[in-house]
Symmetry: C2
Subunit: 279 residues, 2 copies
């Protein structure tokens, strides 16, 4: 199959590696607004060829959109206008706004909304790595709105990436992701800011980061180009979870003020319950 | 050298492994309130022999206290009362209260307060692993209050564990650790509680945890036996940083409410600065 990837960054580039390696894709075509990304992708052999949008779509069996979700909102309908029998996937971290924008599109059936839940804090084609998706979860959204063959090809594609498939509607997807992904990023950004603010000595931060801080702020290195649009599109759900999170921290604060370490212990024991769910 | 380790858990057990492996310790003696821990430690060959406190100290060249910091407060003076020329180290995550409690002790010079900044979210002798301290930082506190030979032996010990040595006074240590370690744990506990509260479907949490949540809540698996006493002893510093952290989250919240995504972006860009400090 010929796979055209629009946006050759961390996700698009890593998909290119694994789709080629698994044999799913015979040919990978790269499309990117930034010529430098395409040049890097060619040099790294992530893609076989670069093309403009129209030709890239015309020559593809499968088209994958892997750009930030704000660009997706305007680009996806344009891509669908150019589609004949190709399957079109997006890999965005928010799904509802995108699905809504396409509801009336005559080619809606050729589109499958997906969210491969994998990534690192790095971005750009130089960040692409093999095995990024291995064993991770991929959400397929609103599959009843897609053509049966388009869903089948999508399932084959993510199975080739060795991902576990999950099915959710776009609305539920966005709520769940606010809980298990988006709030973690806000928390990490805030933690980094707090420490940068309070700890003026950068050497100290570096020296002492092995005390848990290093792993907690890994996500704080994430790109605003990717994340601001996610928070924009999932604002209501994120606000809801953020309120809850601030309340929980305020409870810890109040117990510290009151020196009520029995209740403090009970809250930690409750939090430990996460151990039963994750590993 | 004969090293007696009081408290054969994650830290004590992992030190036992590496001190033996590096050749620093010819013999490791284990002392533990819980006989089952000692039995496990013998079966895992973490220690050569178990003894009671008095004999363990009498036979040692170096005594290491590796128990939760609340137990340390009462046990450390007792240990010092039994000491002749042995060197005594503790490995607690808070240092000020401990140092204060020992200020007038006639044997103060034989004690060196240390904090090897390494760990995992697991505990007990079964959690002990090789290489835990490798390349991490170890803080030595108030070394001017210790005998020169005691400090020298301590430096050799942590160098044998392949740790990077740092020097701080106990008061400064506790402030820095509130920033770069303790707040990360509260944030992680709170995040786990938030998600456990909001996301009733445990299967979903598991399925979707690859979106950043898994790494953010790793610390939330940490034991309350270890952490409650840390928060108790470092309450004032932790409260100070926690206030700042809640304020920062409230800023993110307020920007979401106002849909001010330009300022939201600026905050993320500022948080990204952590990338220049950590890797």
């Amino acid at each position: 199959m010929t796979v055209t990837i629009i946006g050759i960054g961390l996700i698009g580039g890593s998909m290119a590696i694994s789709l080629k390696e698994s044999g799913f894709a015979g040919k990978i075509i790269g499309v990117d607004r930034i010529q430098d990304n395409l040049d890097k992708a060619i040099r790294r052999r992530l893609i076989d060829e670069d093309m403009d949008l129209e030709r890239g779509i015309a020559e593809a069996d499968v088209v994958i959109l892997a750009i930030p979700v704000d660009g997706m909102i305007s680009l996806l309908p344009r891509v669908m206008d150019l589609v004949d029998q190709q399957v079109v996937l997006d890999v965005g971290s928010t799904k509802y706004a995108l699905a809504e924008g396409l509801r009336q599109h005559p080619k809606r059936g050729r589109y499958v909304g997906t969210h491969p839940m994998a990534g690192t804090e790095n971005s750009g084609p130089e960040a692409a790595i093999p095995g990024l998706f291995d064993g991770r979860s991929c959400v397929l959204c609103d599959v009843a709105d897609s053509d049966v063959d388009a869903v089948e090809i999508t399932k084959k594609l993510y199975t080739a990436l060795n991902m576990n498939l999950l099915y959710l509607d776009a609305y539920a997807h966005d709520i769940h992701c606010a809980y298990v992904s988006h709030i973690s990023h806000i928390s990490s950004f805030a933690l980094a800011l707090t420490v940068l603010e309070k700890e003026q000595d950068e050497g100290r931060i570096f020296d002492l980061a092995s005390g848990g801080f290093g792993s907690s702020v890994r996500l704080a290195k994430s790109s605003p180009d990717m994340w601001v649009p996610i928070f924009e599109q999932n604002r209501d759900n994120v606000l809801d979870v953020l309120d809850e999170h601030i309340n929980t921290l305020a409870q810890f604060r109040s117990l510290l003020i009151k020196k009520d370490f029995n209740k403090f212990r009970m809250m930690i024991e409750k939090a430990n319950h996460i151990r039963k769910i994750l590993k």
